[in-house]
Amino acid sequence: MLEHIELFFKSIFIDNMVFATFLGMCSYLAVSKKVTTAVGLGAAVIFVLAVTVPLNWLLDQYLLRDGALAWLGPEYADYNLSFLSFILFIATIATMVQLVEIVVEKFSPALYNSLGIFLPLIAVNCAILGGSLFMQAREIPSLGLAFNYGLSSGIGWFLAIFAIAAIREKIRYSNVPPPLRGLGITFIITGLMAIGFMSFGGMLTGGDEAPVVPEPTTVQKTEKEELKLDKEQEETAVSFNSITKEKE
């Protein structure tokens, strides 16, 4: 239970899809002019993520990963089909999106009209495929956790687009320098929001334990920092040794 809660909050705040990994930026920037459309798209993303991540988890577990075909019999245990994961994941996603499109058109024509071209484009929203690929890369251990991961990542994305849409509605009345209007200021505001979200980093670990899983962009830096730390520790150890020797 604890791991569920931890994953939930981690995916929403710390590993937020928009602010930490920049997934789904295209639709995030294009559909965030009005709060109502932003909410619609956000809800669609939550739904599609919550369905596709567990589905792709099953595919990964029983079809793609190294030795996943062992359930067919021992002679299949050597196969590793993981190079096919891109194509299978995207096929699942495209199918699910088509399904969501049909459902939304049937039950909420108003929403369907306002989302317009962006509903089919959820299929190419990086957040959706990114969710599945991160699920695979982080080796999420169970189906329940995979569902949790999809749902909470979706909620994180929803929060982000909701917040930026509200800000953009307000900023229309501000005096932004003309060349920055529209896209430019949105980028900079998102950057500032991302800096704000970085402060959630210490939320779950309490600051004492190992740092949060480093993102691809920051891996290098943390490695360098660790190296530096190691060196410093060695140096202090050396100086400590020399002091003790002097005492002797």
Partner: protein, 215 residues
């Protein structure tokens, strides 16, 4: 250029500046931001996208008359996914360390909006040669922004370019560091990518006022 008519040449040159996929068309932002902490990764990413978009545009353009319009998105996704698998396997074979750095972002080329955007907007309605040029042009426009952002982030963030220490050694305090210069580690973190792109847009639109948006 004798090889290309002026109209064809514009297909390549336009996306490099005034119709840039990232700063004007707002396509393909995700990967542009996530992997630009290093110049090398940016260059590899740019080359991969040029390969995928150039070839993908050709394939889609060849098939444009036989794809039923209802399932075209799935067909397009399959074409891109196949090309991206090739890129991914090549990277894993010849540049394993780099493919670890790029991690899932190679896979995310599939959902890079530039690719789908150009398929939809251009390759489905134009001949093979023009589609190829359009693909190369747009991918190069994307690559240029990636390389500019990667250049500034690596230079200011870790004081290196392509891994070479161009500003001196921060630990031994040589070069620029002997004057008390410090690396700005903040440039390596993800939010700064957004702000750098925002500033790029600012520069570009100040130079060309026709690009300014309504508020």
């Amino acid at each position: 250029m004798a090889l290309l008519s002026k109209k064809d040449a514009n297909l390549i040159l336009d996306p490099l500046a005034d119709n840039n996929p990232i700063t004007i068309q707002v396509l393909g932002i995700c990967s542009a931001l996530a992997i630009t902490a290093e110049l090398k990764a940016s260059i590899v990413m740019a080359l991969s996208v040029i390969f995928v978009l150039g070839l993908g545009n050709v394939v889609i353009s060849l098939m444009r008359n036989i794809i039923p319009s209802k399932i075209r998105i799935i067909v397009q996704l399959v074409v891109v996914a196949a090309l991206v698998i090739v890129v991914d396997q090549v990277l894993k074979a010849f540049a394993y360390q780099l493919s670890k750095t790029l991690a899932v972002f190679v896979g995310l080329i599939i959902t890079n909006c530039i690719i789908m955007g150009r398929f939809e907007a251009f390759a489905l309605g134009n001949g093979v040669k023009r589609s190829f040029l359009d693909g190369i042009g747009n991918a190069a426009g994307y690559g240029i922004i990636l390389i500019i952002v990667g250049f500034f982030r690596e230079l200011l963030g870790s004081g290196t370019l392509l891994g070479f220490a161009v500003l001196g050694d921060p630990i031994a305090k040589t070069g620029l560091y002997s004057f008390g210069y410090e690396n700005n580690g903040f440039m390596l973190l993800s939010p700064m990518a957004l702000i750098v792109v925002g500033l790029l847009i600012w520069v570009q639109r100040s130079r060309n006022n026709a690009l300014i948006e309504e508020n």
